[in-house]
Amino acid sequence: MRELSLHLLDIAENSVAAQAKTIEICVSEDIANDRLTMSVRDDGKGMDEALLSKVVDPFVTSRTTRKVGLGIPFLKAAAEACNGFMKIESQLGKGTFLEVAFQRSHIDRMPLGDLASTMLTLVVGNPTIHWVFRYIGNQNELFFDDASLKNELNGSPLSDPLVIAYLRTTFENGIRSIQPDKEI
């Protein structure tokens, strides 16, 4: 995966698989501190300490279709190669918080990529989950909570052409208007 936003999609899918009801995503590009961070918080089934300590091992996965899980180990390695880190906190039955940080200007840092498409995919593809999304570009913040939209739709599908148009505009324009000028 060559974009951080694809990794973000992958991590968020873990929260979906953990049967989360609410998933909060935060992406921050902090120029002053030269940091790019992404975090995902969910209220899914969580992990016990034994699984948590092994989760960065590629040979640990909850999937049943094959025995190797590569999403988290790859992302952790990518962060550590860029003066960054990955942190995972989890409590069985309560949920999981994952944060990954990079030196934003590091030459090996992957581009953030198409963050709007990642959000659109998550929100439309998982209509039963309550999504909260925050994007911070420098000091400005885009905040999105799908509760009011879903209330308005009253059960109509999110893949309605009008709703897709609304979500796409919200994410694309919202991110573009506050994103720092260029990816270094």
Partner: protein, 122 residues
Amino acid sequence: MPAIKSLADLKKVREEALEKRRVKTASGQTNIIVGMGTCGIAAGARDAMKAILETIQNENLEGIVVTQTGCVGLCEKEPIVQIATGDQPKVTYGKVTPEIARQILKDHVQNGHIVKEFQVQM
């Protein structure tokens, strides 16, 4: 299609959209499922999803529900897209690029012809 920039705009067009949907639903709703496991994402599932949503938006296709699922165990065939219309059996497509996704929407979803070329057996 009117531009939608706020929830208020969305409210205005919602009634009209609901009416159109009622007509369409009578002929059977179409479900599109995109595989979004690590394998799918790495193979380009997000691009396939994006192409599907763009086509629905641009062609103003009503009565389609797009959802996603995790790894279905056919990692080498990802990105995988499944189509289920009304009570017909589910059709599975493999190695779906954005271009193939657009073709599936046009031929299969809109015109009812299965695109055999890209179909895979589960």
